[in-house]
Amino acid sequence: MSVPSQDNAARTGLFARAIIYSALILFAVYYLLPLYVMLVNSLKPLDEIRQGNMLALPNQWTFEPWRSAWSTAQIGVSPTGLKPYFLNSIMMVVPAVALSTVLGAQNGYVLTKWRFKGDNIVFGLMLLACFIPFQIVLIPSARILGLLGLAGTIPGLILIHMVYGLGFTTLFFRNYYEAFPTELIRAAQIDGASFFQIFRRILLPSSGPIIVVTVIWQFTNIWNDFLFGSSFSSVDSIPITVALNNLVNSSTGVKEYNVHFAGAILAALPTLIVYIVSGRYFVRGLMAGAVKG
């Protein structure tokens, strides 16, 4: 996305440019507004939200909602805050991302550089798997997790996220390695390198960008997942998104909006940081996920 602007830009007059800039800024406000609302109101006492203006800056600044969201808010039956669930999510995300990325890289390598009869069918089936509505696998997944003794556990969630991420990770690496010159593989074969040596010594050192793209994609998707988390977790393994939803939607009594907002930002923070730090790769992953082939 770092392509320089092209000449299709109109040679427009000052007035037109003013309109263009106004429109662009207006939309920037539109996209920023919810984040602003969340942030501002997470720093106000509850009374100020109820009686005051949601768009106004806090009269009285307080970090109390953040502290509460992190460590004391009532979630489900226990007043633990989001902290344990945040840690659940981390323990779930890290292995799931690592496993699906490693497998995807190897699959991409085989599917492009060691092609065999029917490889396109294998790839097609793996690709199609990216798009299934996950509702269709919920019931049997629950069963198989039960059979494996993984029901309601973090390893169970890791398995599920790894499997349903494989299609995308394979797609990313396959498309990347497709453009990797096959002659290099041939040269390495003549040099006597084995299947894994070629992968480790020749392909992997050049795979930095696609590894970053894949890791970001998988991290974002798994961190943000709600469906699997809500279906396959038990008290000890609930991920952050589910906990946040519980906090916001099933809290009885007073609705602590400021705590909700602080919790929402906490839940969004890891992916937001990833996005801010490496937005370029994030966008590349989105594009790769959208434009197949």
């Binding site: 263009i20 996209y31 109820r50 699959n107 509505p133 494989l166 469906l227 909006y257 197949k292």
Partner: protein, 305 residues
């Protein structure tokens, strides 16, 4: 052409044979997992949809298409389908128009593009649950937009769609568009940047105005992007679940049920697993009828090399 099974015939040497099989051995676990967890499970759910399963899978009571008949006679499913229609039409249309519009505006050699673009796109990094929380309270009449307007002195302002059965689905559309339109913008922007500069120069020499160039040349060239955006958005729309749960949880009443929510509520809430399975099958048919032709055309070109 790839380096297919290089020394296939080297059967005499066991090491060489292992080397031949290695690629397939490496791929096999992933493929087996996909076969089981995706296609095996689809078959399982398909079979389930023909049974009278309630709380647990029960393959002893076969009911034929009964679940499908009940499904399409159930008012909640009809509501879910109507909502899906409203949601996907508006969501796809507005995201595309907004995405293209913003991309064209951003492509006018904008100073500060590097600041604006990430602002448009960041919602895509958020989970639907977070988006839902933000919009749920922002649109809440008690503390949100309506209240803000009242505070600012516009006492008669009323915006309580999220509480109104008829209008609540539109608030979900609003939040979903907020989340995805930046991404569509990025797709179109990449498409615009990929347009051959010389074509545009030729059109300028032919005396075409900027508007004409966009209307007659550039936008028609964006066809593949429209197609990709359509496929991505349609598939997101059919899957839409998290956002609804976070914003309204289907309410008020059943006003914002979608097929995905229906499946969830019937299978796990009302112990109607057979019907839940049949609704999942219908969802899959809807998605595949869009995705399969698309993938076929995208991959079909590459196959014949």
């Amino acid at each position: 052409m790839a380096i297919t099974d290089t020394a296939k015939a080297a059967a005499a040497n066991p090491r060489a044979t292992l080397q031949d099989w290695l690629p397939k051995l490496v791929l096999a676990p992933s493929f087996a997992l996909i076969l089981l967890f995706v296609y095996g499970f689809i078959l399982f759910t398909l079979a389930l949809s023909f049974t009278g399963s309630k709380l647990l899978p029960d393959f002893s009571t076969w009911v034929g298409f009964n679940n499908y008949v009940r499904l399409f006679n159930h008012p909640n499913w009809i509501v879910a389908l109507k909502n899906l229609a409203i949601f996907s039409i508006l969501y796809i249309f507005i995201c595309s128009v907004l995405g293209l519009g913003l991309a064209i505006l951003l492509d006018q050699k904008i100073r500060g593009e590097g600041v604006i673009r990430p602002i448009y796109l960041y919602p895509m990094a958020l989970s639907f649950i977070v988006t839902g929380v933000a919009w749920k309270w922002f649109l809440d009449p008690g503390i949100g937009l309506e209240n803000v307007m009242h505070q600012w002195g516009w006492e008669s302002f009323s915006f309580r769609w999220i509480k109104e059965g008829k209008m609540a689905i539109y608030t979900i559309v609003i939040a979903a568009i907020w989340q995805s339109s930046g991404f569509v913008m990025a797709m179109f922007l990449a498409g615009l940047r990929g347009v051959d500069n010389e074509v545009i120069k030729a059109a300028q020499i032919d005396g075409a105005s900027t508007v004409t160039i966009y209307r007659r040349i550039i936008i028609p060239l964006m066809r593949p992007v429209f197609l990709s955006a359509f496929v991505v958005l349609a598939h997101l729309a059919i899957k839409s679940y998290d956002l609804v749960v976070a914003m309204t949880d289907g309410g008020p009443g059943t006003a914002t049920w979608t097929p995905a929510l229906f499946m969830q509520k019937f299978t796990f809430g009302r112990n109607e697993m057979g019907m839940g399975a049949s609704s999942a099958i219908i969802m899959m048919i809807m998605i595949f009828s869009i995705i399969v032709p698309y993938l076929y055309s995208e991959l079909g070109g590459g196959k014949k090399q």
